[in-house]
């Protein structure tokens, strides 16, 4: 690619993420996106992959950011850790937010670092008053340091903790209420966790505090079995969203209205046309929800 400016963008306001389908940006698709300029609402990147000093990742992201709204999704902050947050990492997140002015900024309800060892996995935590307080303190610290509101994502979990005293939705609601953060509703995670924990996914969505939701994630999972040979789903992001997850998405939209929705595909990444087709498929559900909402508004008027 040609020599391009690697200076920070001049715009001072983030371009808002539209209530459309966005796509998780993969390096495999940089060139196709810059050449074809596909009709995609926005892109999202994993923040940690753009924490080098320079080089092609920043050039490509800068070029794509000039054409599309961007969402920044952290995968390594370890907000659910009992130990203090990594200050250096917070600074890197702040710098990336300043450089790219993303419309949304999110992280996970999970931990991934302990005693300075980074496990590169989104590990589960028990839900009780102590962990609510810990997570809320960390979210406060993130929002104060980075200087903007963040979204916290509901996790995919494979185990539960005997120590838990409150439910996942109560936990997320409490953190959002205490900190003012928004929530990222990952519908695939809802299906994965509800299957794995034997919860009812519709009930989960019906109780989810939709007023805090600023973004939705859609992805595919891999089926497996647990200790008793019963279904256990793995959050693999290696295929299209399952029809059941698309139905749950439709149900979620009927409660929260059109919300920016990301299509994630991180393992066995397909070619751009395949990924784009998956984005269009999800967008058709979102478009229908928007029409339904418009129709309801028209009736109300």
């Amino acid at each position: 690619m040609s020599q391009q400016s690697t200076m920070p963008l001049q715009s001072t306001k983030p371009d808002a993420i539209p209530a459309r389908v966005g796509v998780g940006l993969k390096p495999e698709h940089y060139d196709a996106i810059l050449t074809e300029r596909p009709d995609v609402g926005w892109f999202e990147v994993h923040a940690e992959n753009y924490m080098g000093a320079g080089g092609p990742p920043h050039r490509y992201l800068t070029a794509i950011r000039e054409q599309y709204p961007l969402s920044l999704h952290g995968v390594g902050l370890s907000i659910g850790a009992a130990r203090p947050l990594d200050r250096d990492h917070l600074k890197r997140l702040k710098a990336l937010n300043e450089r790219y002015q993303p419309g949304l900024f999110s992280e996970h309800l999970a931990w991934s670092t302990h005693d300075s060892v980074f496990f590169s996995d989104l590990l589960p935590l028990p839900y009780d008053e102590e962990s609510v307080r810990r997570v809320a303190d960390h979210v406060d610290e993130v929002q104060d340091t980075v200087g903007r509101r963040m979204l916290l994502e509901n996790p995919s979990t494979y185990v539960a903790f005997a120590e838990s005293t409150i439910g996942e939705i109560e936990f997320l609601t409490e953190v959002a209420t205490r900190t003012g953060c928004g929530l990222l509703l990952d519908v695939n995670n809802v299906h994965v966790s509800c299957t794995n924990q034997r919860w009812n996914a519709i009930d989960y969505l019906d109780r989810f505090p939709m007023q805090h939701v600023g973004e939705i994630h859609m992805a595919g999972y891999a089926p497996s079995k647990d200790d008793h040979g019963d279904p256990l789903l793995i959050d693999a992001h290696d295929r299209p969203a399952d029809p059941v997850v698309v139905e749950l998405y439709d149900h979620a939209l009927s409660r929260c209205g059109p919300i920016p929705t990301l299509v994630e595909w991180d393992n066995d990444v397909p070619d751009w046309p395949t990924l784009f087709a998956e984005a269009r498929r999800v967008e058709s559900v979102l478009t229908r929800a928007r029409r339904d909402e418009d129709a309801e508004l028209a009736v109300a008027v």
Partner: protein
């Protein structure tokens, strides 16, 4: 430092002139050995998804690795040494 400074200004100037001259020749020797591999769009190292294949359905984890049994089995066996086809192991050199 000054003790090692044995090169005269004239020698240095001559070297710079020679260097400049090499750029006058198309496809200079300086470019001849250059290798680019992998391209510019490298996969990111951080991810938020679970590893799809090896975790799905895996109940035990092979931590041990049985490294005592390990024998490298990649391209090395297909490459050729000056002594003929076979392993890339150096033959006349101490490891």
């Amino acid at each position: 430092m000054s003790t090692t400074k044995k090169l005269t200004a004239t020698v240095l100037a001559g070297a710079v002139t020679a260097a400049m001259a090499s750029f006058a020749v198309p496809a200079s020797a300086a470019e001849g050995d250059m290798v680019k591999c992998y391209g510019v769009s490298l996969k990111g190292q951080n991810d938020c998804a679970a590893g799809a294949h090896s975790c799905a359905g895996t109940s035990t984890v092979d931590y041990d690795g049985q490294s005592f049994k390990l024998v490298p089995a990649g391209t090395c066996t297909e490459m050729q040494t000056p002594e003929g086809p076979g392993s890339l192991e150096p033959i006349d050199r101490p490891a």
